[in-house]
C-alpha cells in the first residue's frame, strides 16, 4: 500500500508547524523549492525561508553561519548537490566546526529516474558516513518521516536525511515507535536476516513472504539510520540467524552493506550478501527498470538470501 502523503509534504508541513513554536528553525533551498514542496514554509515564515539560488556551497556556508547565531537551518537540494557538490563545505564549515545544520538530500539512487546519472547518487550516504559524527538517516515512509523530524531538530549536531520526495510504500503507521539510531525489527525470523533501508524495505518484506513459501524464515530489519549504526541489532541478528543480506538503493561499496560488514567482521562473523548497486553510475529510466538493471528487486533479495544461507 502506498502512503497517501508524499515524503516531501510531510517534511515541509511538519517543519512549518514546528517552526511556529520554534523560531530557531530556518529553511534554505538552492532553487528547488518547488521540488521540495516548501512553499508552505515560505508562506508561513517568509523571513525564515531563504532561497539562495543555485549555489549549494554558499547555501551550506550560510547555514553554518546562521547556526552560529543559534538557528537550526535545514538545507535542501537534490541528494547529489546536497552532498557531493558541497562536500568540503559540509565537512569543514558544518561538521568540523560543529555546526547544528540539517542537510536534506532528495531523490537518492534510482528514484531520481528521468534526471539520470548526473542526479542519481549511489554514493551520498557513503561520503556523508565518512564525515566524523555525521548522523546519516534514510526515512522509510511518511509515518517515520513525521516522527523523525522532531528528533532531528532535537539532536544537537549535523544530520543528513536521504529523502525520497514522493509517495513511499507504507510500512509503518502512527503507532510506530521510532528512535533515530535504533533499528526496527519488522519481522522476526531464524534462518537469515534481511537488513534494508529506504525503498528496499518494502522489497525486503515482500522477499521475506516469498522466502516463507519456500520454507525459509527470514528476519527483516529496517536500518533507517546508517550512522550511528545499531550495532546491537546487527550482532543479535547475526547470532540468531547466522546469515545476512543487506538491501540498499545505493552503492554497496561504502554503503549499508559495507557498514553492516564492518560490524559483522569484527563482532560476529557470518556470511553476508549485499543487494545494491555494484559500483556503477546512474542512468535515466523508471524505478522498476533501473531496479532490474542494478539488481535491486524483490527477486534479487530472495536469490541473495537463498545463496547466503548455503554459505552458512
Amino acid at each position: 500500500m502506498t502512503d497517501e502523503k508524499e515524503m516531501r509534504q510531510v517534511m515541509a508541513q511538519t517543519l512549518t508547524k514546528i517552526a511556529e513554536k520554534d523560531d530557531r528553525i530556518v529553511l534554505l533551498d538552492a532553487d528547488l523549492m518547488s521540488c521540495h514542496a516548501t512553499k508552505c514554509f515560505k508562506e508561513a515564515h517568509p523571513d525564515r525561508f531563504i532561497n539562495v539560488g543555485i549555489a549549494e556551497a554558499n547555501m551550506v556556508g550560510i547555514a553554518a553561519g546562521m547556526s552560529a547565531f543559534g538557528k537550526i537551518p535545514f538545507v535542501f537540494s537534490f541528494a547529489p548537490f546536497a552532498t557531493r557538490r558541497c562536500y568540503d563545505q559540509i565537512f569543514i564549515s558544518v561538521a568540523y566546526a560543529k555546526r547544528n545544520v540539517k542537510i536534506v538530500g532528495s531523490d537518492p539512487g534510482v528514484v531520481a529516474e528521468a534526471n539520470g546519472g548526473t542526479h542519481m547518487p549511489f554514493e551520498d550516504m557513503a561520503i556523508m558516513r565518512a564525515i566524523p559524527h555525521m548522523v546519516c538517516f534514510e526515512p522509510t515512509d511518511a509515518a517515520m518521516m513525521e516522527k523523525a523530524i522532531p528528533q532531528i531538530i532535537e539532536y544537537p549536531g549535523a544530520v543528513y536525511t536521504r529523502m525520497f520526495r514522493k509517495k513511499a510504500e507504507q510500512i509503518f503507521d502512527d503507532s510506530l515507535d521510532f528512535k533515530l539510531g535504533k533499528a526496527i525489527e519488522i519481522k522476526d525470523g531464524k534462518d537469515v536476516t534481511l537488513i534494508a533501508s529506504g525503498i528496499m524495505v518494502d522489497r525486503a518484506v515482500k522477499a521475506a513472504d516469498i522466502l516463507k513459501e519456500q520454507g525459509v524464515d527470514a528476519k527483516v530489519i529496517n536500518m533507517h539510520t546508517w550512522k550511528p549504526l545499531d550495532v546491537e541489532a546487527i550482532k543479535a541478528a547475526a547470532k540468531k540467524t547466522g546469515a545476512i543480506v543487506t538491501c540498499e538503493n545505493h552503492n554497496v561499496r561504502c554503503g549499508l552493506g559495507s557498514a553492516v560488514a564492518e560490524v559483522v567482521v569484527e563482532e560476529c562473523p557470518v556470511p553476508i550478501k549485499m543487494v545494491g548497486v555494484q559500483d556503477e553510475f546512474g542512468q535515466v529510466g523508471k524505478n522498476a527498470y533501473l531496479s532490474e538493471v542494478y539488481h535491486l528487486t524483490t527477486q534479487d533479495i530472495v536469490d541473495a538470501a537463498l545463496a547466503v544461507i548455503k554459505k552458512k
Binding site: N58, I62, G65, A68, D88, S93, A97
Partner: protein, 272 residues
C-alpha cells in the same frame, strides 16, 4: 580619529606584529606574509571599532570577526591573547600537540574565534549567514570578514558576494587583504583578479579602496561602511604588503610561509 589614538593604534599594531612573530617563532615557522599584512586592519577593528567584551566572549550582540583566510590565525591569536581572551602562556603552544591554537582558526578550540576557517572561500559564506541571522534577530552586530586576494580565486567567494549584495546585508563589512601575492607567486600572474573595486561594486557592494596600512584610512573606511553604505554591504579593499613589518619577509618578497627562528624574531622585534 585623533592623532593620539592613531599613534596608540600604530604602536599597538607594532606590538601585535611582534607578538604574532613570537607565536610563530615558538613553532618555528608560519604564514608570516599574510599574518603581517592583515595586522593593521585587525588592530583597528579590535581596538577601536568592534563591540566586543573579552570577559564575555559569547555576548549575543557582539560584533563578529570571521577570518576567512584562516591561515592568518596567529594574527588573531596575538590580538585575542593581548585582549585577555585566553592566557598569555598559550602563545607558546601554536600547533603543538594538544594546543588550543591551531595554525588555522577553530571556533571550538580558541576563545574569541567566531568561525572555523582554513579551507579557503568558506568563511565568507558563514559570515554572510551570520549577517543574515543578525538581521532576522534584529541583532545590532556588525559582521566583519577578511578574505585574501588569492582566496578570491575560489568560486564560493563570488557566490557569497552575490548573495550579500542581492540581500543588501548592510551589517556586513568584507575586507580584502590585497597583498597581491599567493603561495606560488604574484596573484596577477597566476589568475588575475582584475579590477577588484569594480567587481565588488558591480555585485552591489559599497566599495572603498584604501591603503591597508594607514590606520586613519582604515578607521574612516569602517566608519563609512557603517554610516554611508547606502543600504549595501561594504567592501574595504586593503592594499597591503605581504609580510609588512617583518623586514626579512618583505625583503624576501614571496613570504607566504617562512621559517622564523629565535634569532630572526629577536632581530625583527628588538626583543630579548
Amino acid at each position: 580619529m585623533e592623532q593620539k589614538q592613531l599613534d596608540s593604534l600604530t604602536a599597538k599594531a607594532r606590538q601585535l606584529r611582534n607578538d604574532a612573530m613570537e607565536i610563530m617563532m615558538h613553532f618555528g615557522s608560519g604564514h608570516v606574509g599574510g599574518v603581517m599584512s592583515v595586522m593593521d586592519a585587525l588592530t583597528v577593528i579590535y581596538y577601536a571599532k568592534a563591540n566586543i567584551d573579552p570577559k564575555n566572549p559569547a555576548k549575543v550582540d557582539r560584533d563578529r570577526v570571521v577570518m576567512s583566510k584562516g591561515h592568518a590565525g596567529p594574527a588573531l591569536y596575538a590580538v585575542l591573547a593581548d585582549l585577555g581572551y585566553f592566557p598569555q602562556e598559550w602563545k607558546a603552544t601554536l600547533n603543538q600537540n594538544g594546543t588550543n591554537l591551531p595554525s588555522h582558526c577553530d571556533m571550538n578550540k580558541t576563545p574569541g574565534i567566531d568561525m572555523t576557517a582554513g579551507s579557503l572561500g568558506q568563511g565568507i559564506s558563514a559570515a554572510v549567514g551570520m549577517a543574515l541571522a543578525a538581521k532576522l534577530d534584529k541583532n545590532p552586530a556588525t559582521i566583519y570578514c577578511i578574505i585574501g586576494d588569492g582566496e578570491a580565486q575560489e568560486g564560493q567567494i563570488w557566490e557569497a558576494t552575490m548573495f550579500a549584495g542581492s540581500h543588501k546585508l548592510d551589517n556586513f563589512i568584507l575586507m580584502l587583504d590585497n597583498n597581491k601575492m599567493q603561495l606560488d607567486g604574484w596573484t596577477k600572474d597566476i589568475n588575475d583578479l582584475g579590477p577588484v573595486a569594480d567587481k565588488w561594486a558591480s555585485f552591489g557592494f559599497y566599495v572603498q579602496d584604501i591603503d591597508g596600512h594607514d590606520m586613519a584610512a582604515i578607521s574612516d573606511a569602517i566608519d563609512n561602511a557603517k554610516s554611508k553604505n547606502g543600504g549595501k554591504p561594504s567592501m574595504i579593499i586593503l592594499n597591503t604588503v605581504k609580510g609588512k613589518g617583518a623586514k626579512y619577509a618583505e625583503e624576501k618578497v614571496f613570504c607566504h610561509n617562512l621559517p622564523i627562528t629565535e634569532e630572526i624574531y629577536k632581530n625583527e622585534t628588538g626583543r630579548e
